[in-house]
C-alpha cells in the first residue's frame, strides 16, 4: 500500500507516451474530457474508446493496470447504469417484470453514462500510469505559472505536493507504530458504535498531529539551512523542455480530438 501512494500508480516503461512532456499530457487529458462531454454519438464514443486502446498500446501499459484503476469506482459505475436502466423511461419496452421495466431510452442513456465514466477514469489513469508524480508536479507548476499574476501560488502548490509525496509514507509508518503502541496499552480501535470508534481514534490522531507538526518544524529549518527562499531565483536540475516531438504529437492528437468532437 505504501508503494501505491509513493509512486501514484506510475509504471516505468520506455515509450513515446512516457517521454511526452507532462504539460502536453495534462492538457491532452483536459481536452479529452471536454470532447468526451461534447460527443453524443455512438460512433464518437467508439472512436474515443479506440483512441484509449491505441494510446495504452503505444504506452506499453498492460490492460490489467487500466482495468485495475476502474475497480475502486466499479460501484459508482454500476449504480449509474442501474439507475438509468430502471428510472429513465421512453421508447420501446425491452424487458418487464412486475413493477420493474427497462425501456430503450434508459438502456441507451445508462450505457452512455457508464461508458463516459469508464473512459474518463481510464484515460486519466493513463496519465498517472505514464507520468511520475514528480513530473506531474513540475508540469502543473509550469502550467500554473502564467496565473501567478492572478494570485495563484504555483510554486508553493508544487512544493506542497512534493513534500506531501515525500512524507505520506513516513506518516503512514508512524501511524502504524502509534496504533500498535496504544494497542499495547489496551486501547481498542475495533469495537463499539460509530461515536465510540471515532473517540477511540484520539489516542492515534493526537500523537500523529504532534509528530507532523514537529516534522514540519524540523523540515522548515532544514530547508532554510539549505538556502530555500521560495520559488524566486530557483532553478531545477531537470528542467522541462518542449521538444519538436512534443509539439508534433501534442498538436496532432489535439486536432484529432477536436475533429471527433465537431464532426462525429
Amino acid at each position: 500500500m505504501l508503494n501505491d501512494i509513493m509512486l501514484g500508480q506510475y509504471l516505468d516503461r520506455d515509450s513515446i507516451v512516457h517521454s511526452l512532456d507532462p504539460r502536453i499530457k495534462i492538457l491532452l487529458v483536459i481536452l479529452f474530457i471536454i470532447v468526451l462531454f461534447i460527443s453524443k454519438t455512438l460512433l464518437g464514443y467508439a472512436v474515443l474508446g479506440g483512441f484509449i486502446i491505441i494510446s495504452t498500446l503505444i504506452a506499453k501499459i498492460e490492460f490489467k493496470y487500466i482495468l485495475k484503476s476502474l475497480k475502486p469506482l466499479l460501484f459508482i459505475i454500476s449504480l449509474t447504469l442501474i439507475i438509468h436502466l430502471f428510472l429513465t423511461k421512453g421508447g420501446e419496452v425491452i424487458w418487464e417484470w412486475k413493477f420493474l421495466s427497462i425501456e430503450e431510452k434508459g438502456l441507451n442513456l445508462g450505457l452512455f453514462m457508464a461508458a463516459r465514466l469508464i473512459f474518463l477514469i481510464t484515460f486519466t489513469s493513463l496519465l498517472t500510469l505514464t507520468t511520475s508524480p514528480l513530473e506531474l508536479t513540475d508540469g502543473l507548476e509550469k502550467l500554473l505559472n502564467p496565473f501567478k499574476r492572478f494570485g495563484v501560488p504555483a510554486h508553493e502548490l508544487a512544493m506542497m505536493m512534493t513534500i506531501a509525496l515525500r512524507f505520506i509514507p513516513t506518516l503512514l509508518e508512524e501511524s502504524e507504530k502509534i496504533l500498535k503502541a496504544q494497542k499495547a496499552r489496551g486501547a481498542d480501535f475495533e469495537s463499539g458504535n460509530l461515536i465510540q470508534k471515532a473517540k477511540s481514534l484520539i489516542p492515534l490522531l493526537v500523537p500523529l498531529f504532534v509528530s507532523a507538526f514537529r516534522r514540519a518544524d524540523d523540515l522548515a529549518l532544514a530547508m532554510e539551512a539549505r538556502c530555500y527562499r521560495g520559488g524566486e531565483g530557483r532553478t531545477r536540475m531537470n528542467e522541462l523542455h518542449l521538444s519538436r516531438a512534443d509539439y508534433l504529437i501534442g498538436g496532432a492528437t489535439a486536432i484529432f480530438l477536436i475533429f471527433v468532437a465537431i464532426l462525429i
Partner: protein, 280 residues
C-alpha cells in the same frame, strides 16, 4: 516458566523470506533478559509477537502456560501481562495531563478510579517523577527525558508481569540514560518484573542481563549467560556484534597468554584483574 516460545516462524506478506525462523526459547519469572541483534534481525517482530500485537504464521507462544497464538485468546489480557515500551515511546503521548496519559492503560483495563489513582502514583514514583508536581502538567511541555519517563510509567501502570523495553535509552543524553537505567533496575525489583531489554549497548547488556538472546537474520543464534557468551567472542564478532570493550581487552590479553578471568563486565573489576595478573 513464564514465557515459552516454540518454533515460531513469521514472515510479512510483501516479503519472500522469513523475518523469524523457527525460534525456540523460554523465560523464567524475574529473569533479566537482553535481546540483541542488528536492525532487521527480527527483534522488533519478536517482541511484538510476545505481547500479541503480531500473530506468527506458525509456532506457539505460551504465557504462564496459556497459548497466546490460539484463536480465542483475550488479547487485552495478554497485553496487560506483557507490557511493551516501544522505541521513542514519548511519541505516543496524547492526553492533556500526565495523570490522564499514565491512566490511559489502567482505564482500558476497566479499573476503579481509586485503583487507577494508586497505580498512577506508584508508576510515576518509580520513574522518579514527583506525583504532585507532574500530574497536572501537559506531557508535551516536558523535557525529552521526562516525556520518556511518563510513557514508561504509562506501561508500568498496567502492572505487567513482563516488561519489554525496546531501546529505552535511544536518543537520550548520557546523564538521562544513566538515571533511566538505574530506575529500570529499581522498578524491576519493586514490581517483581521480568524484563526483556532490547539494546545495542553491550556494556549495558553484559552487566545487567542474566541471559542474552542474540538474533541474526531471523535466527536465534545464541541464548546464553553473559559469561558463556564471552567465550563465543569471535563468533559474535563475525555477526558484527561484540562484547563490552573492557571484556574485549581481557579476552585479547588471555589469547596473548595471560591467565586471567574474562568474565568481567565493569571497569574497576577489570582493572583489579589486570593488576592481579601483572603482579603475580
Amino acid at each position: 516458566m513464564l514465557i515459552k516460545v516454540e518454533s515460531v516462524t513469521h514472515q510479512y506478506d510483501d516479503m519472500g523470506e522469513s523475518v523469524l525462523n523457527d525460534i525456540n526459547f523460554s523465560i523464567n519469572k524475574n529473569e533479566f533478559i537482553s535481546l540483541i541483534g542488528h536492525t532487521g534481525s527480527g527483534k522488533s517482530t519478536l517482541v511484538q509477537i510476545l505481547n500479541g500485537l503480531i500473530k506468527p504464521i506458525s509456532g506457539q507462544v505460551f504465557l504462564s502456560g496459556e497459548d497466546i497464538t490460539g484463536k480465542d485468546v483475550d488479547l487485552k489480557k495478554v497485553r496487560q501481562q506483557v507490557g511493551l515500551v516501544f522505541q521513542y515511546p514519548e511519541h505516543q503521548l496524547f492526553e492533556e495531563t500526565v495523570y490522564q496519559d499514565v491512566a490511559f492503560g489502567p482505564k482500558n483495563l476497566g479499573l476503579s478510579e481509586e485503583t487507577i489513582e494508586d497505580r498512577v502514583k506508584d508508576s510515576l514514583k518509580s520513574v522518579n517523577l514527583e506525583y504532585e508536581e507532574f500530574k497536572d502538567r501537559s506531557p508535551f511541555k516536558l523535557s525529552g527525558g521526562q516525556q520518556r519517563r511518563v510513557a514508561i510509567a504509562g506501561v508500568l501502570a498496567m502492572r505487567p508481569k513482563v516488561l519489554i523495553l525496546d531501546e529505552p535509552t535511544a536518543g537520550l543524553d548520557p546523564r538521562t540514560r544513566i538515571e533511566l537505567m538505574e530506575e529500570i533496575i529499581k522498578f524491576k525489583e519493586e514490581f517483581n518484573l521480568t524484563i526483556i531489554l532490547v539494546s545495542h549497548r553491550m556494556e549495558e547488556v553484559f552487566q545487567l542481563a542474566d541471559r542474552i538472546l542474540v538474533l541474526s537474520e531471523g535466527q536465534l543464534v545464541f541464548n546464553e549467560s553473559p559469561t558463556e557468551l564471552t567465550s563465543k567472542y569471535h563468533q559474535l564478532q563475525q555477526l558484527g556484534l561484540g562484547v563490552p570493550e573492557i571484556t574485549e581487552v581481557l579476552v585479547n590479553l588471555k589469547e596473548k597468554g595471560y591467565d586471567l578471568n574474562t568474565n568481567i563486565f565493569d571497569i574497576l573489576s577489570a582493572k583489579d584483574e589486570i593488576i592481579k595478573v601483572l603482579r603475580s
